[in-house]
């Protein structure tokens, strides 16, 4: 052995295998995609060998910066990260924070240091485990548990936040309960009621006021809102004052109130900054959603989507009904996020973008709009809110958004079938950020479903939703393969043609999505529902992929609002389609997990539906949308028919999605009526009987 001195050359990054999305999930934990970061080449090589022996897919890098860019480039490309604490270019804890914020992957810290303070630091920074060097292979064999746990928790979070919120704020009365918070004024209440009513004409956005034009919470607007809230302080951030500070002509107190609503729900953040941030983002994104969701939550019973409507944009009721939990969690998240003005500007921005998309999309949503008015009318903005909020960093946000939008949509969607759509739509919307999607979906996928579930599309959807969520999913499958999940989501609707798109979806969602094994119980019910759901799956993925994209969904009409650069995520591109996919319910089922990672696919399907939605937005260019739409429309049509059956399958998984989708769809339908680009006719939109 030649032990002469000299610099060894170690490749900076080596990968044991190409990142395959979602492969090997059936042999979980084999195939777990691990990224290991350590500046010590000896340790790095040993770790790589150990991880390979555990049958994991290993990528190693010796610099934190490299690791971060790898992670950023391959959203959903990794399941877990193992990082050394002491590194020359970046502190391990900093890397930990970044990962937590941006990708929300489980991170294991390791060090030769076993001092209590350093271990504590790891814990407080959000590391899911801390290994002392020298690391033994036994310690590595079990790291997959962190991946599973994280996903599970995320799912639960969504549920809990949603439910918690509702529990606190709104009595779970079926009818709207009064939304205790002042912000709610009437909006929620109305929305709840509206949900029941399910009248088309419900535009009762505010119980008290007549139909108001829906407020689109654009990025700028939201920023103003956040700034105002920050200035006032959470405690003093009452709608009236916020409104004054914002000084936006045409904005009403009710608008602000409902937008604010979420923040109140959100429970205090955890100590970890990353969590906080995430929550914040979630909140932001969820705010709008929350609004919608809240409504839905309030009247869980209202499962019938159809009646939803009055919710601000989002048929919270529907959502609530379907997936109460998610909505709540979203709401909670949102509230939390909102409440905390800790949001970094950067983060909020993304949210805003989303929102823009959403709002942008709203007009596009057509059905959404129409529906919305009918549904929630309280706050048109709801729809929007839900969607775009910066989901980027946090997928949750996307979720929220989507949820929200979905909520709205769903509400309108009367009936499970339709409901599914709006939800899905929403979901799609909220997912403008592909990244977020993935993030969210992956681990969090569960969240989405929750929301969707709420609307309780009554048909299998609820089951499906839950199923979809997969998060909790045990039922779903492959824990590891988030991709599959998402795909299932997407696939759902997309079976047919969109398979591709569907798969895209999963991309975004990654792990989270995997839980969604869509097929199944979902029962989309619906063509309308399916559509929504179909789109939905995309949505999920979409969300992950592009949070923004989801926005697009709603915003489809808007066009490229999506500027979030981040969404550029690979998925993003794909996701464009998602909206259509979602819409396309018809696609049902084809979503096989296999598709998971096919962002491109996803985009396709949803697109058809989503066309209205704003596919283009997703891509950031809006333009893209149109072509897609055209495609999708045809697709949609064909899909629709067969879908009904397939959709059902799809839906079960994404039930949650469906709800949102349906909600979205509904809304869109309303909006789109005129447009027909997508060929909505067959779509559930029709079903959205508000």
């Amino acid at each position: 052995m030649n032990l002469s001195n000299g610099k060894g050359s170690i490749s900076t990054v080596t990968s044991t295998a190409t990142m395959k999305s979602g492969e090997g999930s059936d042999q979980f934990p084999a195939g777990l995609r691990v990224l290991v970061v350590d500046d010590d080449p000896t340790c790095l090589m040993i770790l790589e060998k150990m991880l390979r022996t555990c049958l994991y897919e290993v990528t190693k890098c010796n610099r934190a910066e490299t690791a971060l860019s790898l992670l950023r480039e391959n959203k959903n490309g990794f399941d877990i990260v193992i990082s050394d604490v002491h590194m020359p270019d970046m502190d391990g804890f900093k890397l930990l924070e970044h990962i937590g914020l941006e990708m929300d992957l489980p991170v294991i810290m390791m060090s030769a240091d076993d001092g209590k303070s350093v271990v504590m630091k790891g814990v407080t920074h959000g590391a899911c485990d801390y290994l002392i060097k020298p690391v033994r292979i036994e310690a590595l064999k079990n790291i997959w548990q962190h991946v599973v746990r994280k996903k599970k928790n995320e799912w639960k979070d969504t549920e809990q936040s949603g439910s918690a919120d509702e529990g606190d704020r709104h009595p779970k009365a079926s009818d709207d309960g009064d939304y205790s918070s002042s912000a709610n004024e009437g909006n929620w209440r109305n929305s709840r009621k509206r949900r029941d009513d399910e009248e088309d004409g419900d535009d009762r956005d505010d119980s008290s006021t007549l139909k108001k034009p829906r407020v689109v919470w654009s990025v700028e607007l939201h920023q103003q809102f956040v700034a105002a809230v920050d200035q006032l302080g959470i405690d003093k951030a009452v709608p009236k004052k916020i409104l004054e500070l914002m000084n936006v002509p045409g904005l009403t107190r009710e608008n602000v109130a409902s937008h604010l609503q979420v923040s109140h729900y959100y429970p205090p953040c955890t100590s970890e900054t990353t969590q906080k941030y995430r929550l914040y983002l979630r909140r932001l994104s969820g705010v709008s959603q929350h609004n919608n969701l809240n409504n839905s939550f309030l009247s869980p019973q209202e499962a019938s989507f159809g009646t939803i409507s009055p919710m601000n944009g989002l048929d919270l009721q529907t959502l609530a009904a379907a997936g109460q939990l998610p909505a709540q969690s979203l709401a909670t998240l949102q509230a939390a996020g909102l409440g905390r003005s800790t949001v970094k500007p950067g983060l909020s921005m993304p949210l805003m973008d989303q929102r823009n998309l959403f709002s942008f999309e709203n007009p596009r949503l057509r059905f959404g709009e129409g529906q919305q008015q009918l549904l929630s009318s309280n706050k048109p903005s709801n729809l929007l809110h839900g969607v775009p909020t910066n989901m980027e960093p946090k997928q949750l946000a996307n979720l929220h958004q989507s949820t929200q939008s979905l909520g709205n949509l769903n509400m309108r969607v009367t009936g499970s079938s339709t409901q599914g759509n709006p939800l899905l739509m929403q979901m799609a919307q909220s997912q403008p950020r592909g990244q977020m999607l993935s993030e969210i979906t992956s681990p969090r996928v569960p969240r989405l479903p929750n929301i969707l579930a709420q609307p309780a599309l009554s048909n299998g959807i609820s089951d499906g939703l839950l199923g979809r969520n997969g998060i909790a999913s045990s039922s779903r499958a492959p824990s590891f393969n988030p991709v599959s999940q998402s795909s299932s989501y997407l696939n759902f609707p997309m079976n047919q043609s969109t398979e591709m798109s569907v798969s895209n979806f999963p991309l975004g969602s990654t792990p989270g999505i995997s839980s969604m094994t869509n097929k199944g119980s979902f029962q989309p019910d619906v063509n309308s529902g399916i559509r929504a759901s179909a789109g939905f799956p995309n949505y999920d993925i979409f969300n992950d992929l592009h949070q923004q994209k989801s926005r697009d969904w709603g915003m489809a009409s808007q066009g490229p609002m999506y500027d979030s650069s981040s969404h550029a995520n690979p998925l993003h591109g794909n996701i464009d389609v998602s909206p259509s996919v979602l819409v396309q319910q018809g696609y049902s089922s084809s979503q096989q997990p296999g598709h998971n990672r096919d962002p491109s696919l996803i985009g396709k399907s949803p697109f058809s539906l989503g066309e209205g939605l704003d596919h283009s937005n997703l891509q950031n260019g809006g333009q893209h949308f149109n072509p897609l739409i055209a495609e999708s429309s045809t697709r949609v049509k064909s899909e629709r028919v067969p879908d009904a059956s397939s959709q059902t399958n799809l839906f079960p998984d994404h039930y949650g999605q469906e709800d949102l989708m349906s909600a979205l769809l509904k809304q869109q339908e309303g909006i789109v009526q005129g447009e027909n680009e997508f060929d909505f006719d067959g779509y559930s939109l029709d079903n959205i009987p508000v």
């Binding site: 060894g8 010590d40 080449p41 090589m45 040993i46 060998k49 050394d84 002491h86 020298p134």
Partner: protein, 157 residues
């Protein structure tokens, strides 16, 4: 050399390395990782370790002012020393270099208490061990190659 003899010799060599506290359990872990795909894994790792840690050693010597120009010219940069030692310790522990690791811990403790002299003395001790281990491992791996691919990891008694 007769293969069996080589193996026996190898086993004895390894046993003594363990008995004398030069290597610990981690070395066994490395051996267990060795397989047909990486038949010389342990040797590769050890080679890598010595190559990489040599620069750490130079850096340490520099920081400890082991130069002819005179000591104690400037106060020792204990922080820097500690940082390098941390790295060195991590590396050494990953190949199972038990004594080297123990000395590293000692140096770090001296850094913490600001004991410059203690640092230097410990460092010299550690370096001796570090070099000695290298030699022994070189011999060991040579014998491994001679013994042939049949040699598998076996735990010392």
């Amino acid at each position: 050399m007769d293969r069996n003899n080589s193996r026996r010799q190898l086993a004895a060599m390894k046993q003594s390395l363990f008995d004398q506290g030069h290597l610990d359990e981690q070395f066994i872990q490395l051996e267990e990782l060795q397989d047909d795909a990486n038949p010389n894994f342990v040797e590769e790792i050890v080679t890598l370790y010595y190559r990489d840690s040599s620069r750490l050693i130079s850096s340490l010597e520099q920081t400890l002012h082991f130069c002819a120009c005179g000591r104690e010219r400037n106060p020792l940069d204990f922080n820097k020393l500690d940082t390098i030692m941390h790295q060195f310790k991590g590396s050494s522990s990953s190949i199972g270099a038990k004594k080297v690791k123990a000395e590293s811990t000692l140096i770090r403790e001296y850094c913490r208490t600001g004991n410059a002299e203690g640092c230097r003395k410990s460092f010299q001790q550690m370096k001796k061990e570090y070099v000695a281990l290298r030699k022994r491992l070189e011999n060991y791996f040579q014998l491994v190659r001679q013994a042939g691919p049949m040699e598998r990891a076996c735990r010392p008694k």
